[in-house]
Subunit: 139 residues, 2 copies
Amino acid sequence: MDHLPSWLLSQVSSHAHRLVTEGFGAAGARGYHYRLLDSLVTGGPASQAALGRRTGIYLSDLVGALNELESAGFVRRSADPADKRRNVVSLTAAGRERAAELGERAAAIQDELLAPLSAAEREQLTGLLRRLLDHHAAR
Amino acid sequence: MDHLPSWLLSQVSSHAHRLVTEGFGAAGARGYHYRLLDSLVTGGPASQAALGRRTGIYLSDLVGALNELESAGFVRRSADPADKRRNVVSLTAAGRERAAELGERAAAIQDELLAPLSAAEREQLTGLLRRLLDHHAAR
DNA sequence: CCCTAACGTTAGTGCGTCCAATGTTAGGCT
DNA sequence: AGCCTAACATTGGACGCACTAACGTTAGGG
């Protein structure tokens, strides 16, 4: 069975997931929080629908995650004057700090996950994964 | 964010997971079933504890998965005469057939998942993943 | 002979992904 | 203008997988 890439992938991903939930969990966060904050940092404010497209998170799950981030003061929902259907989600100052904090944790997690690989191998891996992702993300 | 391997890994793994659950789900199975049947084919009969070690499935989850496989007639639990604590889990004839059927599906899923990669690249990928897995599986 | 460890089982948690249904608002078509 | 369809935010639910805690039973070593 250990010859099948999907098995390997799921096993490695399971370890990765454990590292991520441990690392973020120790800070009282989870994967969705980081994904959202990071997307807001690099992509700017956006409606929830746009945020969902950017992060790959389902709209229904986004609601809950944003509720958590909002009541923690990291994020703000404001009505879009140009389109009353939309909430414009943006970072607060605290949210920007939080994003930086979680970013550092993410880097540490990265390092632990990829510990056995050289820098060149890490790039190889990300290149291959990226191509797989691009292929499948295109539906 | 798309520069972080753990993000890539989780995204790719998410697509892989979707393909797997779709592929197996269409046959009324799920990942645990295939993992277990395959492990029984390649590793022979074993106690549940040993099976858990071989597949990486938690003992507690194994119970449920084996219940499903057993009531479908694919697997048999028999008391180990040498150790009354153990159940020896073994394949039935139907189970062997089922394993072959799911194996074919697994191969098709593989192919779909790795479609954009050449044979050499697939080996590169599995090599890298395997090294990550070995590193982290060693606790 | 007792203590500890291994075994199988039950129950419950958490995260991430996904689907279905609802009410609201925008925008295109006629 | 009015209608219809699509987009948006939200709720409530489901499932797969990983993981923990607790329990009773049995083996085996000190």
